[in-house]
Structures are given as structure tokens and as C-alpha cells.
């Protein structure tokens, strides 16, 4: 029996921020790679300041990558740049923190927060996925400027992929926070469980989700989070897809949960509503966007959208 099923594109390839095709060469990051990359005429970089990315206007759209000469105008901090990897023909791709005031930019450049870039689809495909890597790493680096063990300053190493404490020598590595996001499904009554956080866009319902904690498996985290947020007990758990999520640096792990109970007792501090949707209601919800009136789903780039869609079509 094959361990692999299906011959189509894998579910994780359909979500926003997936498809980063850079050659990361993670085993070859020594302390010379960044300087070499900065010397390369083929180098292109994402420029980011405090969660806002500086995009280049390109006709009616935007591009994320800047050439070295264009970066100079943005007050780049090359000492704290991070080497993401290499595109075709060994062309280096970097993340560069910049200091230029976003309100004083030329008309050809616009500083846009990363969530809006995703929601409005201003970048897509490989550029959006590389921006996820860039934004996650710069946020991590900026929140690890000092050593958590001794409080001394840390300095970047290995193309920015490691930081080292100048005091005690402690080594720091990039952080990625696993989050479980799950659709609990009651197969007997053909319904799925969706909730509304008060932070959501108006009328939006989505899968429940929460950070995986130390000392639990993915499946245990799915059962714990579903129980804590909704009061619903989950039995079997089935992994579906994952998604990089750069706000600030998570891995969304998308699963289905087999609902064993149906009486909802929602945590009202986390959710302002939580209820069962039958298949027809759920199909309606997928067809609506925020602001169209009536419950709507997260946008098609979100892993929650794909979990809900796959259940409606195949569950």
C-alpha cells in the first residue's frame, strides 16, 4: 500500500505565503555569505521597517524587490541584512531593514503593512512567500538584539540566520511558532464548527486556532484548543495542510477534528460567537466576502478557507 495519496497539487501549495522557491543552502551559511551577496550585481532585496514593506510601483501593481542602488535611498542597514537564499543563476535574495521615514517616500515607493499586502493581494506567489521569510526573520532579529540569558548585545552571524551574544557566547536561532488551526466536524449531522473572534472583520467566521504548547503533540493541541475554546470534545485528528504565517513568525498547522459532542460552551473571552454550520450554510459563507452582508469566510489565501472548502467539497 502506498504511503502517499492523490496525484494533484498538495493542499499546502494553495495557501498564501507558500511556494518560496529560493535555494536556502541552510548548511552553507558561514560568516562570509552576506558580504558576498551584497557584492553581487544580481542581488535583490525586500526592504522592511517595523512590519511595513517598501513596495515599488509597477504600472497598476507593485513589486517587492529592490536593486542595490534603489535601496541606498531607503537608508538601508546592511549590517543587519539577512540572506534569504538564491534565485536562478545564484542571484542572492536579501531582507534589509531600512530607516527611511515612510511619509517622505518618492511617488514610486509605498510602505505598506504586511497584513494589507496579503489581504489586498499586492504581492503574490513567490514574491509573497519570500516576503513571509523576510518579514519573519527581520522581526525575530529585531526582537533578539539582546541576549535573554545575560542581557548583553547580540551580533548577527551566518548571513543573519544566527545571532551570537557578545557577552556569554549564547547562540540564538530564528523562531517559528507552531499554531494549530482546526475545523471540528460532526460527520453524523454533517456540520462544522466555526467561531468569531472580536478581532475579526465584520461577519467573518473561521476555524478555531491556538498556539501549540510545550509538551504536547499536534493532535493533543487540536483537542485541547477546541475543548478550551468551544467545549466540544474532539476524537480523531487528521492533518490537512500547513501555512507559513509571517505575523510575526508562525507555522499554521491545519487539521480536521472529529467532534464527539455537540453542546457548545464557548470561551466568551476568546470568541464572541461559536456555532455549528451545516453544509449549505458553509457553502454560502465561502461564497461571500466581508461586507456583503451575512456570515463570510476568511479570504482564499487563508488556510482556514482551504480547510472549510475541502470539507464542503469532499467531507
Amino acid at each position: 500500500m502506498s504511503l502517499f495519496s492523490g496525484n494533484g497539487r498538495e493542499p499546502s501549495s494553495f495557501v498564501a505565503f507558500a511556494g518560496n522557491a529560493l535555494d536556502r543552502r541552510s548548511e552553507h551559511r558561514d560568516d562570509s555569505v552576506l558580504a558576498e551577496a551584497l557584492e553581487s550585481g544580481a542581488m535583490r532585496a525586500y526592504a522592511i521597517r517595523q512590519g511595513r514593506t517598501y513596495l515599488v510601483r509597477n504600472g497598476s501593481g507593485f513589486e517587492g524587490l529592490h536593486r542595490r542602488e534603489a535601496l541606498e535611498a531607503l537608508q538601508p542597514d546592511f549590517d543587519n541584512a539577512i540572506l534569504l537564499g538564491y534565485a536562478e543563476n545564484d542571484a542572492p535574495r536579501l531582507a534589509v531593514p531600512v530607516a527611511r521615514d515612510p511619509d517622505s517616500l518618492p511617488d514610486t515607493i509605498k510602505a505598506i503593512d504586511n497584513r494589507s499586502i496579503y489581504v489586498q493581494g499586492l504581492l503574490q506567489g513567490a514574491e509573497l512567500s519570500q516576503l513571509a521569510q523576510a518579514a519573519s526573520l527581520l522581526t525575530w532579529a529585531q526582537s533578539h538584539r539582546f541576549c535573554g540569558r545575560c542581557g548583553a548585545t547580540t551580533v548577527p552571524k551566518a548571513g543573519g540566520y544566527r545571532r551570537e551574544c557578545a557577552g556569554c557566547g549564547n547562540q540564538l536561532f530564528p523562531r517559528t511558532d507552531p499554531v494549530v488551526i482546526m475545523l471540528a466536524v460532526d460527520e453524523k449531522t454533517d456540520r462544522c464548527l466555526l467561531g468569531r473572534s472580536p478581532h475579526f472583520a465584520q461577519d467573518m467566521y473561521s476555524c478555531l486556532a491556538g498556539f501549540l504548547e510545550p509538551g504536547e503533540t499536534m493532535e493533543e493541541a487540536v483537542r485541547r484548543e477546541t475543548l478550551e475554546e468551544s467545549g466540544i470534545h474532539v476524537g480523531r485528528v487528521s492533518y490537512y495542510a500547513s501555512q507559513p504565517w509571517p505575523m510575526p513568525h508562525s507555522l499554521m498547522i491545519g487539521c480536521y477534528g472529529e467532534a464527539l459532542t455537540d453542546r457548545i460552551d464557548a470561551d466568551t473571552r476568546e470568541l464572541e460567537d461559536c456555532r455549528w454550520f451545516d453544509r449549505a450554510e458553509t457553502a454560502d459563507l465561502l461564497s461571500r466576502r466581508a461586507g456583503e452582508g451575512g456570515p463570510c469566510s476568511p479570504p482564499p489565501g487563508a488556510i482556514a478557507h482551504h480547510l472549510i472548502r475541502h470539507w464542503v467539497d469532499n467531507g
Copy 2:
């Protein structure tokens, strides 16, 4: 069609460190829970110092949990204790850092490094899984005593599950590092790909593994790590099981990878050997332990063991 398959125990329930059944009440961690837990006569705690856990001799075996009175002799730092959750009857379970010199302990207590506790099976089941949570959290707390943003001191909040910077107010949350661990399988020739790190026990072969990086899906990480370490290209990826791994605080994500190529070009800095094993060789390897002569597998608690075993039995 059901989204869930199988009716047996889920694969993630067979690995060491799984099965932590504490009620974590993660949504109810306020700043009073730790003091309340310390007042409870039903409180029991794991005592840890620098990666070594203080076990209580119990006949021919060991126990991990200490009562409050027994902790006092170990120089406990209750201010930096962490509330893990609640056992039956609301009995609090804590992780407590202790300072007592491991060389001056009474005969009834022994300080043992956490890897040995796992390898030698000194704790098992729920106690071992709760120790995973305790050890991961204490390591995280001790490596985040200072704020990475401003260098000021951080203080524990929310029963130790959050730290807050006394300088800038930055909030720090426990860290869990996702690691992909995968068995690449060539279904045409019925072989699997195993490697040997120079750090492994003698003659041991295991699955390839590596940290998931910012900006990649689980499947992308499986393909990248396999390619970088072995030169083998992987197509489809199938999730199998996950495992909490408290050295220091990882989540092992176990997958199968469909090998598309068969010429190995191993990264010799990472691996001292990497080769294909047919099904009979792999069954032999599972039946041997380190030191018995000939290639052996990781022990039965390791997720790698389960990935290999499941392929031998069902692949």
C-alpha cells in the same frame, strides 16, 4: 467520505513524551494562579536544575513528582516556578527550578539529565510527558531572563507562562521549535533512506531531520532538508505523527517523503553515512539495539522508530 481514517490509537500516542493529560486551562492563566497552586496541599512538582531532573527513588524505580515539604530541601525558587496544569481533583502540577548541588543529595534523590531519563526509561507515560512540558518551559524561562528588544530584566506572569519586560513592557511567550523528521521512501525499489550523524550512538541509523525555517510549509521543509542532507529529491509528503521533544523545546513533525531520485550526494558535514536500506535490512535494524553489532535503529520511544516501523509493516 470520512475525513478520518483508522480506528486504532493515533500514531502520535505511541511516542515518548506524548500523553500529557494535565488540564492546562490555558485561557485562565492570570497572575494569581501560581500563588494559589503553591497553597494547595495537592500540589506536586518536578524539580529541575540546568537540564537535570531530581527524581525520587521508589523501590527499584523512580518518581518525578515532589511534595512541597520535600521541595524545601532542594533550595526551590518558587518565584520562578511554572504552573503546568491540573491533575485529577484540581491537583496543581508545577515545574520548579531548584539550586541544590546535585552532588550533595540524600540517597533518596538523584539528579539525572533529561536525555538519560528518556533513554533509560526512568520515567514513563504521563510523568515523562509532563516532564517534557516542565523541562521545555524552564529552559525557555531561563533563556529569557532579559528582554531581547531592550536588554532589561523580564519577570514571570500568568503562572510563569508569560514573561514581561520591566523596561519596555515587551511580552514573551514560550518557544517551541518545529523540526521536520522524515523517512524518504522509494516505493519502486522498496527501500528507505537512513543516515548517521557523527553524534549518534554507535551503529545507529535514523531518519533525516532538520529545523523548519521561517517562510516554508511542512512539506517544503521536508523536501528542502532531504535534498540538502542527502541530495535526494522528494515529491509527495505524507504526515504521520508528531512528538514533543524537550531537548530543549521542539515539536518533531514526522513525515514520509516520496523519493523521486536515488543517487545520494550526502552533506558530509551533517552525516557520516547516508544510504538506502531495503525492507529486510530495515527490519533487522529495528530488531537490534545499540551495541549489539550491526546497524540499529533509535529506541522505540523515538518518532523515527515509529516512522521506520510503520513503513516496514505497512509501506
